[in-house]
Subunit: 193 residues, 2 copies
């Protein structure tokens, strides 16, 4: 699995990886592959599971560090960007998988995003934010937030790992996006919609 991830990190697309290629990178004979995975799709699915762990770690850190609400968005985006850099290959895999060729992987990633969004909704409620929103509208808002961040991911991953200026730009722009979404949510009227 690390071998596959390493190749993705080197710019390859997961869908174009072959069994032999992966085992070669892992320093193992091709046949060993079958001891662990039935197929490449299978490997992809297990990667999705690990991706879940990465996301959960990220949420935990965000919850621990975001204490005061005024800098909430900025801080969260910062943590997100940091994690995206630290687990570049994982997030590359995620971005690729969203439009990948394995339906199962696609669905897995989508499901992780849904979970993420629902956790975000919980946190907002716990912080007594956006209390005027109906459950459904809170759901829509959080979904939109997660999508926006996920899309920023593709920006982030398409620029060089250590181009600090551009990284700062992405961070700033993403923060703007989220601020705009939250202004929208704050002025949203759940009754009239």
């Amino acid at each position: 699995m690390s071998a596959a991830l390493a190749l993705v990190g080197k710019g390859r697309h997961f869908a174009s990886l072959g069994i032999r290629e992966v085992t070669r990178q892992a320093g193992v004979v091709p046949t060993s592959f079958y001891r662990h995975f039935r197929s490449m799709d299978d490997l992809g699915l297990q990667l999705v599971d690990e991706l879940g762990l990465v996301l959960r770690r990220m949420m935990r850190e965000a919850r621990a560090n975001v204490l005061q609400a005024d800098k909430l968005i900025e801080e969260s985006v910062g943590i997100f960007v940091a994690h995206a850099q630290a687990n570049r290959s994982f997030f590359l895999f995620m971005a690729q998988g969203l439009a990948g060729e394995s339906r199962a992987v696609q669905e897995g990633i989508r499901s992780e995003m849904r979970f993420f969004a629902s956790e975000l909704a919980n946190d907002l409620r716990r912080l007594r934010l956006m209390e005027h929103l109906s459950d459904a509208d809170m759901d829509v808002t959080c979904d939109l937030v997660v999508r926006t961040v996920a899309f920023s991911l593709t920006d982030l991953l398409s620029i060089s790992e250590d181009d600090d200026y551009q990284i700062g730009q992405v961070r700033k722009r993403t923060t703007r996006f989220l601020q705009m979404v939250f202004v929208g949510a704050a002025n949203w009227n759940s009754d009239s919609a």
Copy 2:
């Protein structure tokens, strides 16, 4: 090019397509490929160019049909969904290319999206909407709109072509997203930001 698109439409990922595979689908001998393209990346780039045409056609139709501002969002989303269905393979290619392995294709698609966003900004100004926004904030807003729609694209493409119920759901949700963004933009204060 149509052959490559057809394969993508059949669920394959562009990055995993081979020259022989494409020529086979095109009903042509492998060597003929080189008469038209230097490599697969080259083919991808030319597809991006055609994608530009598709997007422009879509914009033209949207401009023609969206006359009254009250149903602006709903109408636009409808036109978008219709075009996405009519050019499914093209949009699949676009969704894949955003996180694809060819840097050039990636940049090409990104550039098409930027163009789309700037055209949207022009239209909004022409319609005298969101006039309180600074140029930069208008830019952010339109970018966010385009991203949101682009992400909805992946939702749309991952469901069956003729599952009208689910298509309706995506349309409704996307409309919500955009309404929320525009409420945010309407209540945005360009000076204090």
